[in-house]
Symmetry: C2
Subunit: 406 residues, 2 copies
């Protein structure tokens, strides 16, 4: 069967995964701030990391280990990015892994680490040590534990972001789940995006890497909240083989295509959820670029529109301001003829052949009132398409990001 | 003498220039919206235009004429960008030039045109015709008329932007004046920046072009309000030779260096004034990048910091948030070692050698309370420096840009 069952799961829904979310005293509010995900048996792992040349210490540690050592678990803390604190930060990440690996009777290199939060402050290790012990004793295969793990990685997120899908490959039921945090670097420097994905699929390391790279490029790399790339962005995918399907190792196979599709469903769902829950966001805006000269041009136009503060504030104001969309496309660097391109807001064509079109402001207002809005830009310059998601820019974005660290 | 006298002048302060600013019924408020600047005798002209591939009709017309025909005058209207309205827009720009040229007994190609305002709406030519006649009859060499011309090109600007300097070359007194409008594309699509510069200097066309290009690159191209490049950005410099100095035609000459310096004084003054008066701005932020690997890297870092909504909202909140500055530098694409760079806010060093530094929050607060703030980023990666100016990002930016067109 070619069906994909999308269901309300959690990060520990696939076979062999256990999760917990506890308070380790990092957040002053007492909110959950340590998430632990464990795979028994150990999983293979693949990760994609921020391209920012400034990188957090927990992330740098994971960069050295992912894909090279079996992964027994991953610890994520929120509230502190463990970044820009010098050698202490490396030591703290090592100690966290050591505590967890000792409890799980594995080696420190089997434990991945991730952090998100304030930049430039040391982790409060005294209270974290106790938190880690609590996280281990709270591990569970129950979905409630998975939900707690998600809560423990959130910072200014207003809604949890979890997505699960099940499908069959080689006659076996495979489950793939993900959880993520967004979105906007925040009060004061919450280092944006972390996504953890788990699956019980049996798949080769090579194809796991290939699948993650290609799917991240068209999901997590297709969202923009404020254009800022954080020092802790990280997506990690674990696969532990507990579904006992015949290993997927041929990239031309139907099973690999199904795995890819399942990964895309979960990743796109999480990515859109991050954009939709961008700091202060009131709307999710989908930007579709059609018929660009090439892929790079299509993406350049989508990115320019997605990042333009003028476009984003106009949507916050529910203003059918296509001139700003055209202007952003015009400075994107893409080659196209403005006289030949068309812009649509929802189903309404507003600009075509170098001219503003007459349209009903009332009809436009109805479209702009919706939470989900689609902008279509047809460049008529080739046959490449791209899609991106962004949110609007509101008073609350300024409020959230303009507030004092202290 | 090497002195440059900076004085309170207007666009018609140099010899041989006349100006007026009138209401032509374009702005619903009845505010001034047509500026006319006339040079008698005709001037040579040089212009720099937006690199946006979408361009307004008035600007496209000027692109064909500047530097090729003597310039007797330039008409600038605000309130309507004359952009994206098809062939009608070209005809309207032609008609405006024809009305002015007939009154001045010159040819239409001796008149340059510029427009700034709403995109996608036709100019109200019926009322503009009357406005143009009024503009001609109001022409004056008095500084008050020059100030009115500046008022007539403003859109959401909150303060007029004028700058004048006098110096001597070849024993003659030379005056160079400028006026500009900013800053942020606005309600609904005020097409950002227009600057007009006038001088009575006698200078060759070749050096006029060279001077303008090099000075624009380090003044108007070094400011960022929201990162959006409009379809009507335009800087035009007129030189009519009325100072009767021996023509400046040698780029190695002392007189050319003095001209360049005077042009830089006026252009930088106007550019900083545009950044400082960015939409909703409460602060002017100067970003100094030192010791980059090369000029391109230095500029990339300055631009990334100047454009980051996270940096800009933090300054609005008077928050010493150096983590966002480092993060922006980190994703700028420039090559440097985060472990070797240093960040200073005003005189306070906040980050160095890969680590947050202890600093007095009270002292930082004092610096951040000021209107003018300097960020220094020393990359320690080479010997190239760059400088940019930007403003903070406030609630009012969202308010101004989120409001309805209608």
């Amino acid at each position: 069967m070619d069906d994909f069952l999308i269901f309300d799961g959690a990060i520990n829904s696939p076979e062999g995964y256990y999760a917990s979310g506890v308070s380790g005293g990092i957040k002053k509010t007492g909110n959950l701030d340590i998430a632990l995900i464990v795979s028994d048996p150990p999983a293979i792992s693949s990760s994609v990391f921020t391209r920012n040349i400034v990188k957090g210490h927990s992330l740098l540690r994971s960069m050295k280990l992912t894909g090279r050592f079996p992964c027994s678990g991953i610890v994520v803390n929120s509230g502190n990015a463990n970044a820009c604190v010098g050698q202490d930060g490396n030591n703290d990440a090592d100690e966290i892994a050591a505590i967890i690996s000792e409890a799980l009777s594995c080696r420190p290199e089997n434990i991945l680490t991730a952090s998100t939060g304030i930049i430039g402050r040391r982790l409060p290790m005294d209270s974290i040590r106790g938190g880690l012990i609590k996280a281990i004793s709270s591990l569970t295969g129950e979905v409630e534990g998975g939900h707690l793990a998600e809560l423990a990685i959130m910072t200014t997120d207003t809604v949890p972001k979890e997505s699960s899908v099940a499908f069959t490959a080689g006659g076996k039921k495979i489950t793939l789940s993900g959880m993520a945090k967004g979105s906007g670097m925040i009060h004061p420097d919450m280092a944006t995006m972390i996504a953890i994905l788990t699956t019980d699929c049996n798949i080769s390391q090579e194809l796991l890497d290939l699948a993650l790279k290609s799917v991240v490029d068209r999901s997590f790399n297709r969202i923009s909240v404020d254009g800022d790339t954080s020092v802790c962005d990280m997506v990690t995918l674990l696969a532990n083989g507990c579904a006992h399907n015949q290993q997927i190792s041929d990239k031309g196979s139907r099973d690999y295509r199904k795995f890819l599709k399942a990964l895309e469903i979960v990743s796109t769902d999480l990515a859109k959820s991050i954009a939709s829950d961008g700091e202060g966001a009131t709307k999710l805006i989908e930007i579709r670029v059609f018929n660009a000269k090439n892929k790079a041009d299509a993406l350049a136009v989508a990115r320019a529109v997605a990042k333009s503060p003028l476009v984003k504030t106009a949507f916050f104001g529910e203003d059918a301001n296509w001139g700003r969309i055209l202007t952003a496309a015009g400075y994107s660097g893409a080659e196209f003829d403005p006289e030949k391109c068309e812009i649509r807001l929802g189903s309404i064509s507003v600009y075509s052949e170098g001219k503003a079109l007459q349209f009903s402001e009332a009809e436009a207002k109805d479209i702009l009132k919706e939470h989900d809005i689609t902008i279509t830009i047809d460049l008529n310059a080739g046959d490449s398409d791209e899609i991106m998601w962004t949110c609007d820019f509101s008073y609350d974005y300024v409020k959230i990001n303009g507030s004092y660290r202290t």
